[in-house]
Symmetry: C2
Subunit: 206 residues, 2 copies
């Protein structure tokens, strides 16, 4: 199993490499990938060796081949089904952004407590009422839940997800969630990215 930070970097490399394919770029040097991610070329070369790209390529690393090998390492072969719970501003932005973005991460169901959102479709994916969550998670074999509900509903939604057999939770509310050891919990807070920008802007000013 790869460490979490390595998984993050591989994901970020793939994102960049997919951009390059759109721009018809076929090769890339480690220092070019490094510059985009604010890391060192040594770190990039170490990661790519981990993937089996050991020799030094005169033209640079082959972009399409890198994407393929990262996919073999990160993705589950048969893909995984994902649900988003809470179809407010953040949930809606995520649903329209993530649907169809990665072939092996299928957004298959949306949930909300608001009766008026029942039957809504975003990116072709249907919104169910949260009372149907248990049933739909089982029938659609959903293993991952993305939580974008208000802080006050976070703990309740998390326990409903766990009861339905979910195995991974991405929590966007800043309420700390308790999960059993067989459920993987990840949180992300945009304040961390903003504070990073603020810190380096402050430092540049000096």
């Amino acid at each position: 199993t790869l460490p979490g930070k390595t998984v993050e970097r591989l994901s970020q490399y793939r994102r960049r490499l997919l951009n390059l394919v759109e721009e018809n770029v076929e090769y890339i040097f480690s220092h070019e990938l490094a510059a985009i991610l604010h890391i060192t070329a040594v770190q990039v070369r170490r990661d790519l060796m981990l993937l089996g790209f050991s020799s030094v390529y005169r033209k640079g690393y082959p972009v399409k081949k890198l994407i393929e090998v990262i996919g073999q390492r990160l993705d589950s072969e048969s893909g995984q089904n994902v649900a988003i719970i809470g179809m407010g501003n953040l949930g809606t932005a995520l649903a329209s952004y993530l649907t169809g973005l990665r072939p092996k991460l299928r957004i298959v169901a949306l949930f909300d407590i608001d009766e008026n959102k029942k039957g809504l479709k975003i990116g072709g994916v249907k919104c169910y009422h949260v009372s149907e969550m248990g049933k739909v998670i089982k029938s659609k074999k959903i293993s991952i839940g993305v939580v974008t509900v208000p802080q006050t509903s976070a703990k309740k939604v998390a326990s409903q997800l766990i009861k339905s057999g979910i195995k991974g939770i991405l929590n966007f509310t800043h309420i700390p969630l308790e999960v059993p050891s067989d459920v993987y919990l990840e949180e992300y807070d945009m304040i961390t990215s903003l504070e990073k920008v603020a810190y380096f802007v402050k430092k540049k000013k000096k």
Copy 2:
């Protein structure tokens, strides 16, 4: 200057510590902070030594003091002004979430190209038309711009921000932006967090 990854950890510690203050917890051990962030207690202790907390506290580290010292290290004393460009789903979610969240990071202006959004207020912050961006950025001394516009407008908005004298950009569109060396650029893609969850769920299954 601290490395980017250390800034990220300090920001994440502070987020957790602020939660603990709400729960009236006065002390915390390094292994408790580590568990929440999926990192080692050694890493936490090393970071806290960097902040000057060298000796071992029998009761654990003092929560309020840690928050204060992290603030002294991360924040700019007089605070910084932030603008969000693109008041769609993501921009709106960010505006209502970030307004008032950190005293030293003030959200002072929102921008959108849609005439109908002019004059809208989110969290008490006013939305201006994007044509006023240059003028407002100067008059409100805005140093950081958060970009949540569609992919097609990303490059244009970034160059307008740079022309207005912005010093830091947090880019949520996945279009790579070129910025001059005196502007700090950070990107964040939620797909990275989701791929991390998917990877560890896949690994747990085995």
